[in-house]
Subunit: 185 residues, 2 copies
């Protein structure tokens, strides 16, 4: 039997990311799972306008999306608990820079996506930043045969339903493949 | 060592959804994982303008986001392989309707989110539809203590890196909690 839950967002799990952006000239990190894929090569961040990071993204028009591994779950959660307005988080991680020069990236995260802000959508009290990925970095040990391997990355999946972080499980099937001939069965 | 992968989207896994919308007066389904969370109560769909479903969403200004379970992986993949332009998919699933009246929902999916189109963002050759969730439905057997339990739902996670579907694993930790006191360690 279907139960009505009210207007409840159940689009989970979502990948937990650390957004890294320069604010007042130094890196600041914010934990974000209310993200999305726009087109094929762009990412949306839905950031409440109260956050410290927004001004830095608007100023530099650059940011990075970093995928932490499960080993980083404590520091990842920490970055969502404390605001850059009150705590200087700059030294929490070692950073590196790429072609955009103003988008710091977290060296300790397995995957880093360097993004250029290309569009900002006003949505209620959120800045929805759309960033085009200009370069992606991955440490060699998280890849298999030249492909990013999430069983090695062990990303942190966010689920709002139970306010928890979850692991990824195993592969089920190939996409654009397992459904072939479904109708003829 | 960091390896440059080019401008590669690695924001995965994403939840695999079945978008259900009336097109020419009958339900049509499209598999979508390039989705996102906007604000707290809204979902973005980044739909290439070539798709059959777009016209139906524009016409009715309603759609539903359905979360299939791993048992539905074949039919879910199938809906991404064949276009409603060529194949009438209406009878593939049993549908029900809610308060919006024009947003069909797939009864067999554990979770259904009934959405009202509130904004459309033009992005390259994509219609980015932003839908506000007006009601969410979940079958009782996929809940624990009144909360949606993804270990029961067994959603299908999409990973573009290896073009595969993955399972969810187990809970790691509580969010807004495990990071408390991180700095003082």
């Amino acid at each position: 039997m279907k139960i009505k839950l009210g207007a409840k967002n159940c689009l989970y799990p979502m990948p937990t990311t650390l957004i890294d952006a320069n604010v007042d000239g130094k890196p600041n990190y914010i934990t974000m799972a209310h993200v999305g894929i726009i087109g094929v090569g762009a990412i949306s961040l839905s950031m409440n306008q109260i956050h410290y990071t927004n001004a830095g993204i608007k100023e530099n028009k650059t940011f990075s999306v970093n995928i932490p591994s499960d080993k980083m779950v404590r520091e990842t959660d920490y970055c969502g608990l404390v605001s850059g307005k009150k705590v200087n988080k700059a030294d929490l991680f070692e950073n590196f820079y790429g072609q955009l020069e103003t988008a710091p990236m977290i060296k300790g995260c397995p995957i880093n996506m360097e993004c250029k802000l290309i569009q900002t959508v006003d949505f209620q009290n959120y800045d929805v930043f759309i960033g085009e990925i200009v370069e992606t970095y991955c440490d060699e040990q998280f890849m298999t045969d030249g492909i990013v391997d999430l069983s090695k990355v062990q990303p942190i999946l966010f689920v709002m339903n139970d306010k928890s972080y979850w692991r990824i499980g195993e592969r089920i099937a190939k996409a654009w493949n397992i459904g072939k001939g479904f109708k003829s069965d």
